[in-house]
């Protein structure tokens, strides 16, 4: 944390996927919350690529039951949900967030902002757990109850967990990398803040025995698209995500991993 030019304002820089985002706030309670939640992802005193002014508002300020809505208006992204309102101008690299003090709102805003950032550069956030083993990253994808957290829990000691919930995929020089994220699922623990080239993506299916089968490209794209986190109501960005999914499938092997939930499944990985 560092004090910004205004002596009552604080700045916390959170770097996820190698992209530092600064959150500026006058609320010290919120600063404490950020520091405890994003510990391994803080970049104290570091430069940021994007900045958000955060205003903490009383609980119940917004309509609590509103679903998430994300849209582009006059060159500015608008993000709304029952517990937050946010704007982000990608050209000016600045935005504003209003939410109550709780760990979930800022977590959701960060996820949405990163999905927007990634969509423009061939990457995406994926419903997947991921881990690094022998220098390579392996992704385990599926919707709720597919076994993402189970695969994370069963990981052997030599595997480093990147996340059990939302995998961060970036394309760098036509190669795909997975990054650790603080976005935790049932495991309740942030991933390690490291990255590694992605060796393969496994689409999870619980079964009586362990087995790996290749997935044909069109089916892989269809199933990958189902698991990419995307919130924006914007045809151009949807188009970009589709292109990203196709390019990913053309580069990274995609398999179906049928697995029985015990540690033996990891004998097939890495």
């Amino acid at each position: 944390m560092r004090n910004s030019s205004d002596s009552t304002s604080h700045e916390v820089v959170i770097e996820i996927g190698g992209i530092p985002v600064a959150l500026q706030t006058t609320d010290e309670g919120f600063v404490s919350l950020l520091e405890s939640r994003y510990g391994n992802y803080l970049k104290p005193g570091g430069a940021s690529e994007f900045e958000f002014k955060v205003e903490v508002v009383p609980a119940g300020t917004f309509h609590r039951d509103d679903d998430v809505k994300v849209w582009l208006q006059d060159g500015e992204w608008r993000l709304e949900r029952g517990d937050f309102r946010a704007t982000w101008n990608p050209e000016r690299r600045r935005g504003e967030i209003r939410h109550s003090v709780n760990p979930y709102s800022i977590d959701s805003v960060l996820r949405i902002v990163h999905t927007l950032l990634l969509a423009g550069s061939g990457g995406f956030l994926l419903h997947a757990s991921s881990a690094v083993r022998n220098g390579n990253a392996f992704l385990f994808s599926g919707l709720s109850e597919a076994g993402k957290t189970t695969m994370a829990r069963l990981a052997p000691q030599d595997a480093v967990l990147l996340t059990d919930e939302a995998s961060y995929v970036r394309r760098v020089n036509n190669q795909y990398f997975a990054y650790g994220t603080p976005f935790a699922g049932e495991l309740g623990e942030p991933g390690k803040n490291i990255s590694a080239p992605i060796a393969s993506l496994y689409l999870l299916k619980k079964a009586a025995e362990n087995r790996i089968d290749p997935v044909p490209p069109a089916e892989a794209v269809r199933r990958l698209m189902r698991n990419i986190l995307f919130f924006a109501d914007d045809a151009a960005l949807v188009h970009q995500v589709f292109e990203s999914a196709c390019a990913f499938v053309a580069t990274v092997p995609v398999y179906q991993l049928s697995f029985f939930p015990d540690q033996r499944v990891w004998e097939l990985i890495g």
């Binding site: 490209p217 069109a218 089916e219 794209v221 045809a235 949807v238 188009h239 589709f242 292109e243």
Partner: protein
């Protein structure tokens, strides 16, 4: 005018990619995905808005697959109607300029 004398063109609100011998098409309006088999992929590829469906069937589908014109027409009609119902393909009795990528 016969159904097969009409012209088919791709909606501008789609994204598509050829993957192997299949084509995957997505509506950018509602993110619905369609996987086209090899026959559907040929019709899709030829849906330029200026080639009548009958020519696509006779000159491409029947030549590349071992299928009668009657059977190819029945399959093509089902395929075109399905995609048109989702707004992915457009059917016109006049030639139109292709607007999709």
């Amino acid at each position: 005018m016969s159904y097969f004398d009409q012209y088919v063109s791709k909606s501008p609100a789609i994204a598509s990619r050829v993957l192997g011998d299949e084509t995957i098409v997505m509506s950018t309006v509602d993110s619905t995905l369609f996987t086209l088999n090899p026959t559907g992929s040929i019709i899709w590829e030829c849906a330029d808005g200026i080639t009548p469906l009958s020519r696509i069937i006779e000159e491409r589908v029947c030549k590349e697959f071992d299928v009668t014109v009657e059977q190819a027409r029945a399959d093509a009609r089902e395929f075109v109607d399905k995609l048109a119902a989702h707004g992915i393909l457009r059917i016109s009795d006049q030639p139109v300029a292709e607007s999709a990528p």
